[in-house]
Structures are given as structure tokens and as C-alpha cells.
């Protein structure tokens, strides 16, 4: 057991996967010699060699395309998209390729690849280093979409993703790389050091896909969230004194509906929180599902607290980010409804 930041946990997952299965290969822009702009692959090329960990041209469509071909061959490619905001040139290969190969060939070929990408804001990255495009993946059948909120889950989920025979989109909330973040950007940074969820085994383990975690049990209302917003949601619970049950979905889709439904049926109230823009965000699906499955138990409308429907602005970052005040206000409205 060691204390790891999320970056170290991700690196450790890659290390374990590369070490156990010689079919695992890791590549992307600047991930080889340099070790990645966020250092997630640092040291891996030196350890596993240049043909297992390597740099690629700046062509996201090419990165996903070769990953599909490698996966069809029998490798387990783990490709990095430098920022989720840059995944769009690879979107055709993801939707028309990775997500469809198994179906269109009736299982003759499969596409077991993992696409890692940092997402989310809170680092003054402006509109092209802050996006959270998860809904563009959850709408695509055949894909799995995963987003961890802490080092332990990050490592376990990433190993599970690499071992999974389906294509997995693995979104890494970059604001959590070096510490949990509750949305109070004006307070001193908190590191992962000493945090229980940063206690990460050195070796192999997995956190199963399609399973949510109850991050904080509670009785007043159910919060459905993932990634950075798990910490913000928890902070809002402390600050409002509302006993929120916070569910960290971890696997966005396919997802663990049972955990969600059980909780909402018990609390009768539900708030959905994500950083992505609101309209047609994944929160819409969550709200739709909850009202479908828990309608007769609901005592208040399901609220969504999300990024606004604008690009992620640079200077107004903290007015955009759905921080603990906005989340807490939604808790209060939901309790008062």
C-alpha cells in the first residue's frame, strides 16, 4: 500500500497492465519519451521500451484508428488523447469504428481499446482545456464511459477498462490529479497525501465496471454525480447540513442503475450534478431514468446543477464552475420543495 496521487495511480495502473500482459501498448501525443503533459506515463517508455510506449503524430483520428486496428489484431491499446477537448477529430473512429466493430461483424472482430483523456475545468484552461464531453460517449451504444473521482478508483477502474473486451472511454478529471477539490478555489490546495482514497495497492486489482459507489451515505436526498463534482457535492452537504447520499457513479454507461434507484426510492429526492454543459448532458439521462424508475417515490423535482450552456470561459471560470454554493442551493430547494 502506498499513498498515490491520481497521476501516480494512473501510472501505476498502466505499469501493472504493461507488466502483466505483453499485448498492452500505450501511446499518444507526448506520452513516450516525455511522459505525457500531465506525466501520467512518465518512466514507462524507459521501462517497457519504445515499441510498447510511444509518441504519436498529432492526429486524434489516427490515434483512435490505429488503436482499433491494433485491438482487432489482438493487442490491448491504451491511447491517450491529450485533452478531452481534442477528441473530436477522433470521434468518427470512435463512433463508426470502435463502438461498431463487434456488432457489425457479429463478434468476428472486437475492439478492446481504452482511450484515456483528461477532462473538466478548474485550471484556468479556457474553453479548449476544460471540456467534459461524456454525454457524447454515453449516447453511443457499444462504448463504455468511465470517470473516477479518486486515486484508488482510478487505478482499479483503469485496469478493469484495459482488461475489458469492449472499448472504454476513460475520462480523468484533471482538477483531481493532484488532490481532491471541493470547489473552493480560493482556499489552499489540498493534496492527496494522507487521504484514505489515496491509499493504493502497488499491484494488480480492479474496481468493477458498471458499479457505482456510495461516496457518502445520507438520508435527506440522493445526489448523482461523478468525477470532481463528487467532492463538491460532499462539500455542499457539509456546508448546508443536509444529509445527502452522494452516489459516485464511476461507470457512467452502462451504469449501476440499482444503486441509484434504491437510494432515490429511499430518499425521495434527487439532485444531479455535473460539470458539463446542461442541455443534453448526461444529467438529462440520469433525470429521465430516475423519474422513470422512481416516479412514485419522488417528493420534489429532480434538479440538475451543471456547467452553463456556454463554452467554458477563461476569466469567469469560477462563475461557470458549479461550485458548492450552487450545489448547496439546489439541495435546499430540493428539500424545501
Amino acid at each position: 500500500m502506498a499513498t498515490m496521487t491520481m497521476i501516480q495511480a494512473i501510472r501505476s495502473a498502466l505499469d501493472v497492465a504493461l507488466g502483466r500482459d505483453e499485448n498492452v501498448v500505450v501511446f499518444g501525443e507526448d506520452v513516450g519519451y516525455f511522459g505525457g503533459v500531465f506525466r501520467c506515463t512518465e518512466g514507462l517508455q524507459a521501462k517497457y521500451g519504445k515499441t510498447r510506449v510511444f509518441d504519436t503524430p498529432i492526429a486524434e483520428g489516427g490515434i483512435v484508428g490505429v488503436a482499433i486496428g491494433m485491438a482487432a489484431y489482438g493487442l490491448r491499446p491504451v491511447a491517450e488523447i491529450q485533452f478531452a477537448d481534442y477528441v473530436y477529430p477522433g470521434y468518427d473512429q470512435i463512433v463508426s469504428g470502435a463502438a461498431r466493430i463487434r456488432y457489425r461483424s457479429a463478434g468476428d472482430f472486437i475492439s478492446p481499446l481504452t482511450l484515456r483523456m483528461p477532462c473538466g475545468g478548474g485550471i484556468y484552461g479556457g474553453q479548449t482545456h476544460s471540456q467534459s464531453p461524456e454525454a457524447l460517449f454515453t449516447h453511443v451504444c457499444g462504448l463504455r464511459t468511465v470517470m473516477p473521482s479518486n486515486p484508488y478508483d482510478a487505478k482499479g477502474l483503469l485496469i478493469a477498462a484495459i482488461e475489458c473486451d469492449d472499448p472504454v472511454i476513460f475520462l480523468e478529471p484533471k482538477r483531481l490529479y493532484n488532490g481532491p477539490f471541493d470547489g473552493h478555489h480560493d482556499r489552499p490546495l489540498v493534496a492527496w497525501t494522507g487521504h484514505p482514497r489515496a491509499d493504493v495497492p502497488e499491484g494488480h486489482y480492479t474496481v468493477p465496471l458498471e458499479s457505482a459507489a456510495v461516496f457518502r451515505p445520507g438520508r435527506d436526498l440522493t445526489v448523482l454525480t461523478y468525477g470532481t463534482m463528487v467532492w463538491v457535492a460532499a462539500c455542499a452537504a457539509e456546508e448546508t447540513g443536509i444529509d445527502a447520499e452522494i452516489i459516485d457513479l464511476r461507470s457512467l454507461w452502462p451504469m449501476d442503475l440499482d444503486t441509484v434507484v434504491t437510494s432515490v426510492k429511499r430518499t425521495g429526492r434527487c439532485v444531479v450534478v455535473h460539470e458539463a454543459t446542461r442541455t443534453s448532458g448526461f444529467g438529462a439521462e440520469l433525470a429521465a431514468l430516475v423519474q422513470e424508475h422512481c416516479f412514485w417515490h419522488l417528493e420534489a423535482p429532480i434538479e440538475r446543477v451543471t456547467g452553463w450552456d456556454t463554452p467554458y470561459p477563461h476569466a469567469q471560470e469560477w462563475q461557470y464552475f458549479p461550485g458548492p454554493d450552487r450545489v448547496g442551493a439546489a439541495y435546499r430547494r430540493t428539500m424545501e420543495a
Partner: protein
């Protein structure tokens, strides 16, 4: 700064339109035997002259000429000819069956059979192909059962892809034939990925990738060239220039100012421009390219000049956008006739054998069709069970799809 005249936009036009016979002089045809054959470790920029000429072996009399003339066993050539005849017969029957609504859609390869079949014969049987919808010749050359192809076309319960795909979207891992994509170009970069994987694993299998002239404009063509160049991927990048996309002529993909083979050279890939209706040239160029790939010399791009003799698919009518007699006037002729002429000349074929082989392949196709139809056709409504629709989205069916399948069965 001087006063400049007003600008204007150039819109390329084809060299023929309905009512205006095609002027084929744009093709730039080299005489048979005229183009040099570089060593297999030629540097990319040392192939520009070949990318701008046309490698041809068979002359007008069916004689094999020049440095590219392959030392091919006549038995191999006879096999090639028979496979072309079989493929052509298959296409013809399936076109009729489509008109009879036994299948919803069809795409033939008429006029360009030599390319896929010649290359298939030049590859090792376990080399991997990433085809488009016009390389049924590869599947037939590799001995994939005609009945299975037809079951796919008829979408019947023996369709290997379970009725999920449009007709012609075959797949066969066992025959080194990648599942065909509806989204043009996507397979090209995937092919490079497969080739990279083979190299990473120290395997010996190489890859044959396919794309049409029109689809070279797709982003994945560029991605494929970049990655193939950077990593020296063991891949043959085939560009089948059959002159037309759907209604748009190859100049709309940039064929006016440079050959498609020149794209390869410009991107650091050794490239050839080859007569695709000359079976011997196809064999020879394919052999050169596969040797390069196998020997670690990296990728080769081959532009094959041919002509899409038929409609784009059963959904279009080419007489709306080009002269109806174009194929008959195409300077590179018909690959079947040209190979038959050559074999006859060397005493390895005859008119009688041609006729009997023709009868034989037709019978083979008819027999296959009879069997396939006995399992059902789209028209007869015998298709895969609807509940199978939910399989293979993921390896294991997630809860939401189990719920949806139950709903579908209930409703």
C-alpha cells in the same frame, strides 16, 4: 502592390458527360514495359517518376514486356482468370437477384476484378486485408464459400453477420478479411494499426489496405499515410482509381493536378501507379510491395488505374452523369479479356476452355444461390430472430439492453 484582377473559383469538370464522349487522353498511359522497376528497398522520393507514369506489362497483343513482367506460373494466371470469371458471374447473378428484391442492395466490381484478385494471389494466405465494398474478389480468391456470401446478401438466418448489415458488408477473420465499413476510409488507418501491431509483436503478417479514388479525400487516408510513414508500417496502401466516386469524377478528389500515387511520395511513402486492368502488372506490383513490407522497407502506396464499368451501386444510374458507352472506350480495356488473350498467346488457354470455364462458374454460382435461397431471403422474410438485435453491442449484455430486449419481446 499592383491592382489585381478579380479572382474566380475553379470547378473541375469530367472529360465527358452524357452526350459528350469522354476524352480519355487525360489518363497518361505509358507503353507496356516502359517503366523501370526499382529495387525493393527504394527510397520513397526515388519513386516519384513511377508515381507519375503507369506500370504496364501486357501490350496490346497480350505479350508480357519489360522489367515488371512477373515470372508467374501459368497455373497461377489460370487461377486468376477463373477467379475473375467467377466473381463476374457472381456479381451478375446478384444484380438480378437484387432486382428481384431478394436482397435490398448490391455493389458489383465489374471491370476492376483484376486488382483485388491479383493482389490476393500475391499475398500470403494469412496476410490481412482491410477492403472496401468493392473487393469481393479477395474473398472469392481466398475460397470463402459463395453460399456464405449469399446468405449475407440475402440477410437470411445463415447470414454470418446476423442480418445486421447492408448486403456486401462481409467479414471473415478466418479469411483475413476485415469487416467492411459503411463509413468511407475508416478501414484505411485501422489497417495501418493492424500492421503496426504485427510489427510490434514481431509477427510476419503484413496488411493490404483498400480505398477508392473518391475516398482519398477522407481524413483517414491522410492519417493512414502519416502513421504508415512515421512507423514504417508493413502495409500495402491500395488506391483503386476507377475514375468515379458516385457521380463525381476523380478530379474532385484532386486527381487533376497530381496522381494519387504522388500523394504517397509526398507523404514519404514509396509509390507506384499501375495499370489495374493488367493482371500481370497487378501481380508484379503487389509482389514488389509485399516484399517491401515483409523485408522491413515499410509501406507502399499503389494507385491502380481502372474503370468502374457499372453503376456505383444498385441505387444509382450512371447514364445521368457520364456517357453510357464509357467503359467500352476505356483505353485500358477489360482485365478478363486481356488476361485471356495473354494466356492464349502463351498456349495456356483457349476459346473452348474459356467457354467451358464460363459455364462452370455460372453453374457454381447457380448452385450456391439455390442453396442460399433455400435458407431464405429478405423478400421471403426469413431473417435472423429480432432478439439477436441486442447481442454483440457489448461482450456481455448490460442490464439496460436486457431490459430493452424484454420490452421488444413483450411489445
Amino acid at each position: 502592390m499592383p491592382a489585381y484582377p478579380p479572382l474566380s473559383l475553379h470547378i473541375p469538370e469530367p472529360p465527358g458527360r452524357p452526350g459528350v464522349p469522354t476524352d480519355f487522353s487525360y489518363l497518361k498511359v505509358s507503353p507496356a514495359g516502359a517503366v523501370r522497376r526499382p529495387p525493393i528497398d527504394a527510397r520513397p522520393d526515388d519513386t516519384m517518376d513511377i508515381a507519375e507514369s503507369l506500370v504496364r506489362v501486357l501490350d496490346d497483343d497480350g505479350e508480357a514486356r519489360g522489367p515488371w513482367a512477373p515470372a508467374a506460373d501459368p497455373a497461377l494466371l489460370r487461377r486468376g482468370l477463373r477467379t475473375m470469371l467467377l466473381t463476374r458471374a457472381f456479381d451478375a447473378r446478384m444484380l438480378i437477384a437484387q432486382r428481384q428484391k431478394k436482397l435490398s442492395f448490391y455493389m458489383q466490381s465489374l471491370g476492376e476484378e483484376a486488382i483485388a484478385i491479383g493482389q490476393a494471389l500475391a499475398l500470403a494466405p494469412d496476410d490481412m486485408c482491410f477492403p472496401t465494398y468493392r473487393q469481393q474478389g479477395i474473398l472469392i480468391a481466398r475460397g470463402y464459400p459463395l453460399v456464405d456470401m449469399m446468405c449475407q446478401l440475402f440477410s437470411n438466418p445463415r447470414d454470418p453477420v446476423k442480418g445486421r448489415q447492408l448486403p456486401v458488408m462481409y467479414t471473415s477473420r478466418a479469411h483475413g478479411f476485415f469487416t467492411i465499413a459503411g463509413n468511407l476510409g475508416t478501414q484505411y488507418i485501422q489497417a495501418v494499426g493492424w500492421a503496426m501491431a504485427s510489427a510490434i509483436k514481431g509477427d510476419t503478417r503484413i496488411v493490404s489496405a483498400w480505398i477508392g479514388d473518391g475516398s482519398t479525400a477522407a481524413a483517414d487516408f491522410h492519417n493512414a499515410l502519416t502513421f504508415a510513414c512515421v512507423y514504417h508500417a508493413p502495409v500495402i496502401l491500395n488506391v483503386v482509381n476507377n475514375q468515379w466516386a458516385i457521380s463525381s469524377f476523380q478530379t474532385l478528389a484532386g486527381g487533376e493536378a497530381a496522381t494519387f500515387a504522388a500523394r504517397g511520395v509526398g507523404n514519404g511513402i514509396a509509390s507506384l501507379r499501375v495499370d489495374g486492368n493488367d493482371f500481370l502488372a497487378v501481380l508484379a506490383a503487389s509482389a514488389w510491395a509485399q516484399e517491401r513490407a515483409h523485408r522491413g522497407c515499410g509501406a507502399t502506396l499503389i494507385e491502380w488505374i481502372t474503370y468502374r464499368a457499372g453503376a456505383h451501386s444498385t441505387s444509382d444510374d450512371p447514364s445521368k452523369y457520364r456517357p453510357a458507352d464509357d467503359w467500352a472506350r476505356f483505353p485500358l480495356g477489360d482485365p478478363v479479356a486481356r488476361l485471356a488473350q495473354h494466356l492464349t498467346r502463351i498456349g495456356a488457354w483457349s476459346d473452348a476452355e474459356h467457354a467451358s470455364t464460363q459455364a462452370e462458374v455460372e453453374a457454381e454460382v447457380m448452385a450456391a444461390q439455390k442453396e442460399a435461397e433455400s435458407y431464405g431471403t429478405l423478400a421471403s422474410g426469413h431473417v435472423h430472430d429480432a432478439s439477436m438485435m441486442f447481442d454483440d453491442v457489448y461482450r456481455d449484455m448490460p442490464a439496460h439492453l436486457r431490459r430493452q430486449r424484454a420490452q421488444a419481446q413483450g411489445a
